[in-house]
Symmetry: C2
Subunit: 499 residues, 2 copies
């Protein structure tokens, strides 16, 4: 087989995925609901075709041939080959009938989850979660290479080369860092004023502001677009079409503001991948964690920066047509960084957010490595919230039933969110050695920040592993201390704490 | 082969077309332009696949088998079989290499057309049009069954069972009818006041109004949507997702108003096709002419009706927030039906529009049946405009270069537009025997009009031929007199002419 033939097969699979991407985007941004059944048929047919091709004879032939003829591959061809092989092994190592049974279990679990949300009762989905856990325990030996524990296998599906051993250490450090900050704030912090955050800002005013900000941050609207949706996301059809979405609340402008800044970070990443990876699986993010690092770099690092807001505040005031004329800049800035314990992950502020992840990580580890019973999970969940955040859910909807992930089989996924925080802070630190980030954010031209990220992260797409990217970009492996330091600098400033 | 297997193959082709439909809709409503090259690859790949399947071994096997086993087909299966056979023969009778060469010629002609528009000079596309004409003359013998002339063959690809003989007679009648009305208007008509038509109506005001009107007419927004575009169209992914589009001009509200009413007619048709035709090529309009009859029924028949506007005018005034408070209803109504000779087909009013079509028809007939030279076409075009409309293009952009159709190979297509006018008027006449249309339009419930059209036209999709539909619905074959009578009643009223 020639490299060209192998790459053409992969390209055709990518083209199918691009069509599927548009069908998905459309389903979430405005497809008439009545069309769902038809859409299901179209998506089912095309995704079946894409999957069959991805494990089909041509791919198999290519993988077998180049296994012993890798010298015939160009550098690009070799990188693509490796990525395709990884995905093939993940998809193809499970017996087909078991994978089909698992997919049925996922559908059942999703429906049970919807029921459990309605009744606010985990018991409604307990059996279905147990089934999924049993399936994953059955599959882990198929996937396992040299991972130390069962849960390591799941972790690595989302973040290659991550381990329980490493995460235990890192999360331990993050947890005590956050606890320390929270304790200090509780003890002697000055709570910022936030009443004006609920002043009415029309959707159009919000749009004007946040589109302006996203553009300055480097999101290219000529190669993307912003649409309304219920659950915001970024979806890239290709590097020239990376679409972002948001929801709006006229009495809570901060939601869409930070939401769009976040999604723009994902979009900038996709828009900046090297064109040589077009139509290959390398034209994608390096991992979930690295992708989140880019959205969170925007949202948490730049979006928490006082110089950034100092520059943006007059623009915000102009867009909101006088609504915030009575608010001093410092008061405005502080309001954006209030921190408060909360029960719902997606509503958490940037200081407490990692604790939500750590709770889920600890529980997942207990399930897969310590054999804890699924029936005991709500109790464990609630106890941990009480221990780490000092508040206790009064029902399972604001507790263990809140997330869709487990009913979707995505055990091992949550840590990626926290990795994104840590990577972002570590990248910020490294960037600071070359660029005066505060000065850039105070200026009218942010391009050097985006360029730095493109140079060190974006351009490589999925051709490098997260570990290598972070090491090359920052000179060291993942180090959670930068996140803790960053949190301290932001929150101690806002809460007027002198160390 | 089993019917089920045959229908499954067809369903899969339809699913591919549904994905292609969304890709097309998206390209025209908001895809970032920078994504065009990527989109071209995706569309090229999927449409190639759809075409290959449509002439592939399974379809061939099915067509061969059921040719001699039609007794094994259900009523639905038989109808689908016939439709698929028709399409197969159209697509498959031309040698592949010639069809490929033709497609290349179409691409060249489209580019030449764009050039010709820029330079406003037909000479820029003359050779390319000649090439297309030559190809079609080469293909006609392959397509020909029992048609009397070459041009009949082309006509029948868009409107089955139509003939030059019939059209000559019909268009002769329409032409003299329109000429008579125009002469009378010129002689003794009172020209309506129209100055206020250019008053500013914001896009949002226009949207509110026209969405309200389209809903009343029966367009179901829960199974469709309205988006912005440059060249308005309706595109149905399925009967639960029939999308309409429009462009807006704040200084010409009539454009989007009548545009949306028009597209809603196409949309209502698709939304009302019997679900038993889902996922088959019968879930579509019966022909281009019948499809236009439904959009024009909305735009020209209902949209010209004084009772309709009498009912809508207060709503329009409310939506436009006082802008038209000084305008009397009669004055407003008359303004909408001004008629004026114009050079550009898509800007023509409903009285002169058929003349634009007749000019094109006569020229196409000369090309294919009388061997007129392509080089002479601009002269012929301009002479005909002078003869029929009394005005002469000063360059080819407002003359022969205005339409995309010929460079796209669509000779024989134009007459469908005029058929739509005639069918619409004939349907209106037949409907009047059962329903007091004026009274319904004066009421708050228009559903009986839509229901009549669904009963007689919509529900059948493409399972019946245009001739049969019109005969069954109106009790007679196509009769252009209804259009002439209708035009007289509308325009003599507006221009205050007593016969």
């Amino acid at each position: 087989m020639k490299e060209q033939e192998f790459l053409q097969e992969i390209k055709e699979i990518e083209l199918l995925k691009e069509a599927l991407g548009l069908l998905e985007w459309d389903s979430q941004t405005g497809m008439p609901e009545a069309s769902s059944a038809f859409r299901g048929e179209t998506v089912g047919y095309l995704s079946g075709m894409a999957f069959e091709r991805s494990v089909g004879p041509k791919i198999q032939e290519g993988l077998t041939y180049f296994d012993t003829h890798s010298d015939e591959l160009s550098e690009l061809g070799l990188a693509v080959y490796k990525k395709v092989k990884e995905e093939y092994e993940l998809n193809h190592s499970i017996p087909t009938n078991r994978m089909q049974a698992y997919n049925t279990a996922l559908t059942n679990a999703h429906n049970a989850w919807l029921q459990a949300r309605k009744s606010k009762d985990f018991a409604q989905m307990k059996n279905e979660i147990q089934t999924i856990v049993d399936f994953l325990k059955e599959f882990i030996p198929y996937w396992k290479k040299d991972e130390a524990t069962n849960y390591d296998v799941l972790l690595n599906q989302y973040e290659p080369d991550l381990s329980v051993e490493k995460l235990d250490q890192i999360f331990g450090q993050v947890k005590s860092g956050i606890m320390e900050i929270r304790a200090k704030i509780a003890e002697k912090g000055t709570i910022p004023r936030t009443d004006f955050l609920s002043r009415r800002v029309t959707k159009e005013q919000q749009r004007t502001f946040v589109i302006g900000v996203a553009e300055q941050l480097g999101y290219d609207f000529s190669r993307g677009r912003l649409d309304d949706t219920v659950h915001p996301f970024m979806l890239d059809l290709n590097r020239n079409d990376a679409r972002i979405t948001t929801r709006w609340d006229e009495l809570n402008f901060a939601m869409a503001t930070f939401g769009v800044i976040h999604e723009a970070g994902h979009g900038i990443y996709e828009q900046s991948i090297d064109p040589k990876y077009d139509h290959t699986p390398l034209s994608a993010g390096a991992s979930m964690g690295i992708h989140e690092s880019q959205s969170l770099f925007n949202e948490i690092i730049l979006g928490s920066n006082k110089h950034f807001w100092k520059k943006q505040f007059p623009f915000f005031q102009k867009c909101t047509e006088g609504t915030f004329d009575d608010i001093e800049f410092e008061t405005f800035y502080d309001s954006l960084k209030e921190t408060k314990a909360s029960l719902v992950r997606i509503e958490a502020d940037s200081l407490t957010y990692p604790l939500h992840i750590i709770i889920r990580y600890e529980i997942e580890k207990m399930i897969f490595n310590e054999g804890v019973s699924v029936a005991d999970l709500p109790q464990i969940w609630n106890d941990k919230y009480e221990e780490y955040l000092g508040i206790r859910p009064i029902n399972d909807l604001e507790g263990i039933v809140q997330d869709v992930h487990w009913s979707g089989g995505s055990f091992g996924y949550f840590p990626s969110y926290a990795l994104g925080y840590m990577y972002a802070a570590q990248l910020r630190h490294a960037m600071g050695k070359e660029i005066n980030v505060d000065a850039v954010l105070a200026s009218a031209d942010y391009s050097s920040i985006k360029d730095w990220l493109t140079k060190h992260i974006h351009q490589y797409g999925a051709s490098r592993k997260p570990n290598q990217l972070i090491l090359d970009a920052t000179g060291e492996t993942l180090n959670p201390q930068y996140l803790i330091d960053y949190m301290k600098s932001i929150y101690y400033d806002v809460y007027k704490i002198k160390e």
